[in-house]
Symmetry: C2
Subunit: 394 residues, 2 copies
């Protein structure tokens, strides 16, 4: 939509605060260069480069072969809610009643429902800056205000209980944290997360924990916030660890007394999540699938372990080793004071697509780039060589 027509005659005020993804400008330029015959290494992509696991695909095929694809209950297929509950028992040794699990249209659906039941117009939700850009918009759609708290490498890019306590105010309804986080890949220490949960509860608010990168942690297994408290909302997804982005499926675990409210909102806004995706996801927890996914997890770890020192050697600032996700949030201040222009320059001259910091918040975006290792090891090596040549020639 570069050829933008006249302004809309009537546009809700909220849309002024809702920004597009600036990364799309980089992506559009990358596609234009590729269309002109250039080779581009894509490291701007926020989704795994792996196929949906075969057992999931095969289950989808069996379901669609049967022909009947009706709506499910608003809260999701009971069998899938039970499978997710068993996953919490087996992987985390935490008991979560299936009745507390709401299957959603991706983590996006989970965040929309959570903010819908929690946030009144004019109320605030505390979160880290930088953070996943859409987090701010789920709150704005509900008339709330995201209050983004600058965090840096000194706290591993994560908020602390102390920081949240200092900014908790009269109008604060909730705090939203992510562990591991996008764009930084860092986690919140489990004991600190316990302090955060206790603080938020003491202030009469609700803690929402984004655990969508669980399973993609390296050298450690993430512990769920549900082990700390049954008062938290936990958001998860089949997109990242389970490699099911395009299926649009996730889930939300909520305290029991919110489930009826979440059900009402889901009935009205979504009817139900995709039946095909829900049926397919029943195969996501099978041992054969998990074996496959654990192999991919090792591959992601190997990519991180290659890329991080390579980028440091090139002069990017990476003071923190992220434990998870598939991103490095690199300080490029040594090369440029405008990471957006720098990303475009790298794209044009080195053929490497990266995401400039500005999508993720207001806290020093101009000196940061998000570098995703969602491409093969040979591509990562190629990207590093291209960056090396480009930086040497600059």
């Amino acid at each position: 939509m570069t050829d933008r027509p006249a302004s809309p005659a009537r546009l809700a005020a909220r849309m002024r605060a809702i920004e597009p993804f600036h990364a799309m400008d980089v992506l559009a330029r990358a596609h234009a260069l590729e269309a002109a015959g250039r080779s581009i290494v894509h490291m701007e992509v926020g989704e795994p480069d792996f196929e949906t696991p075969r057992p999931v695909l095969e289950r989808a095929a069996r379901v669609t072969a049967k022909g009947s694809v009706p709506y499910t209950q608003a809260l999701g297929l009971p069998a899938l809610r039970e499978a997710i509950a068993r996953f919490y028992a087996e992987r985390y040794h935490v008991e979560v009643a299936p009745e507390r699990i709401v299957v959603t249209a991706g983590a996006s659906g989970a965040l929309l429902l959570a903010m819908g039941v929690l946030v009144n117009p004019g109320e605030e939700v505390l979160m880290a800056d930088p953070c996943y850009p859409c987090n701010r918009q789920f709150i704005r759609v509900m008339g709330g205000e995201p209050r983004c708290l600058p965090v840096g490498p000194e706290t591993r890019w994560q908020p602390t209980a102390e920081l949240l306590g200092r900014h908790w105010g009269e109008r604060t309804a909730a705090a939203l944290v992510a562990s591991p986080a996008n764009p930084t890949g860092t986690m919140i220490d489990h004991a600190e997360l316990g302090r955060i949960a206790a603080l938020v509860e003491a202030r009469g608010g609700v803690l929402v924990v984004d655990e969508i990168y669980h399973g993609l942690t390296y050298g450690l297994d993430a512990r769920t916030a549900l082990a700390l408290s049954d008062r938290v909302f936990v958001v998860n997804s089949f997109s990242k660890y389970f490699d099911m982005t395009g299926w649009r499926l996730g889930w939300l675990v909520a305290p029991p007394e919110y489930v009826r409210e979440l059900e009402k909102l889901q009935q009205n806004l979504f009817i139900c999540p995709s039946t095909v995706a829900q049926q397919a996801a029943l195969a996501a927890f099978e041992p054969a699938t998990i074996d496959l996914l654990e192999g991919r997890r090792r591959e992601f770890q190997a990519r991180r372990d290659f890329l991080l020192p390579a980028l440091r050697e090139l002069g990017f600032g990476l003071p923190v080793v992220p434990e998870g996700a598939f991103y490095l949030y690199a300080d490029c201040a040594r090369f440029s004071s405008d990471s957006f222009a720098f990303a475009l320059e790298i794209l044009e001259r080195a053929g490497v697509a990266l995401t400039p910091g500005r999508d993720f918040g207001q806290h020093l975006p101009e000196r940061h780039l998000r570098i995703a290792y969602t491409t093969s090891r040979p591509n990562l090596e190629l990207a590093v060589e291209r960056l090396r040549s480009f930086l040497a020639s600059r």
Copy 2:
């Protein structure tokens, strides 16, 4: 969720206005009776009883066999937006640029996006009462107020330009109409729809037209509101005519200057609609699929033509012959002054599940039942016989 736990400590005020589907109470009781061995004829279901068409299923199978199911562009697959544009050209002889088409997570997603870009907190949207229950909630989530205008058989259960003009006020942002409508099955005359579009535009508002039951009209082809004006928002769906409910796919056609805003909102709230559903839907417009769907349309017409006189003969009030959808909105005042209790009585004593009027609004719900002919002709005949015996014994 009959065993409801303590009230949520923090609940957004909007949730008080968002009602659950009362029909679910009937459905839960129907399932309990079935579990106890009773035979129930389901006429409460708002989705077609037909399988997803084979060409659509086969295309889904081919796509999932390939394994890669990534996100699509936020606005949807370009090939699907083009296929929808061709459908408007072929079926309606109306030119709609693919760039104006936004693929969505069902009509639900389309309505959420439309209200998100159009409605400010405190603004009103005019609509008919009775109407599809979720319509009110998309507006409430945005902080707006649904203004439900009572309509009855004298206007074929549809609002008129005169009625909308009379209730249009300072705070009115938009009008939402559906043709054919749920729960009544009636349509707005094309000339009247033109007057409505002109009125809304003259008042500086936006007209949103729900066309999700297009294709399921009997003895006539519906004309799209896009033939009248390119200023309207049109919502459509793959759920009803295309028999793809559980896939969760629909679309929105908007004036060009709103598309970038809709794209921003879709990026943030949904990322994209289901990739599997979008790929599968590419087969929805193939001649083989359309042939199949036209046969099902004739079957729906035959069901209506059987059921309507049969219910009239039993004493239900059906002064209007609905042209479309798969519902009859029957006046049961001759039998009961409480359609909710009456629906439960019919369920218990006759084994027929119907939807009481109260889900659809405040205008005489207690004397109406929605009767869906989304079950086979033998089942419809069985239901009529059961109702006949039940009413005779009462």
